[in-house]
Symmetry: C2
Subunit: 142 residues, 2 copies
């Protein structure tokens, strides 16, 4: 999760909403990214989507069923879907996102009958740090 | 929707689940794509995501608030999220997807409090053709 927090901080420095993600297989970080939606002019360039695409390209495999994903914020509905499609094994996230989350809030995708693979979900990891990075970013922008 | 159906048929010929999408601004098709998840080894390469990314790149804009999206199948949860983030104005889709849809089924994302932009939704366009392309594809694979 420390790597994910570092990616979130780096995203903040680039002027992006500071969310970071790391994909781990067998204890190795195979992909890491921060949010790049502004830089890439791409609403789909959330940290989670970027690491899933990076890892799939690196490994030449669509499905990442041995992979665990660490992300600093509760994934949104879009990312919750991508995580399911990628067959990710475990999802660890930091801060809750009552306004935009799709795991523990709103769509609660993994509890839907239209969800055909749900990762094991662990929330609250490094929650204080993850929240503080987001709060600091939005405070500085006001 | 004819262009979207053509993209779906082309996807089937490439061995991809046949879904096609077209993004229209001011009556002009600014982006069109079929599903390419297998070809790209990328679970996020649904037709909808591809046209949103294409259009954003072409137009140099993250948000596509003047755009209407035509897609042959009800968007999944991931795509429903991306469509919302891209601020797409109207969504027209063909076949319903009770097993995997995220608009009229399952997550029903546009009805969630965590959804901050919902397109106008029109379903059932060319539903028979759109369904038949999908049915024919899965029949041939069995």
């Amino acid at each position: 999760m420390d790597l994910a927090l570092a990616e979130a901080r780096a995203a903040a420095e680039r002027g992006e909403v500071p969310v970071g993600a790391v994909l781990v297989i067998d204890g190795e970080a195979v992909a890491r990214a921060g949010n790049r939606t502004r830089e890439l002019s791409d609403v789909t360039a959330h940290a989670e989507i970027l690491v899933i695409r990076q890892a799939a390209e690196t490994l030449g495999a669509e499905r990442l069923s041995e992979a665990d994903l660490y992300v600093t914020l509760e994934p949104c509905t879009m990312c919750a879907g991508a995580i399911s499609f990628a067959r990710i094994r475990r999802l660890y996230y930091g801060a809750e996102d009552p306004k935009g989350g799709g795991v523990a809030h709103g769509a609660r995708f993994y509890a839907q009958p239209t969800c055909h693979h749900a990762p094991e979900v662990y929330s609250g990891l490094a929650e204080t740090d993850a929240s503080e990075i987001l709060r600091g970013f939005f405070r500085a922008r006001r």
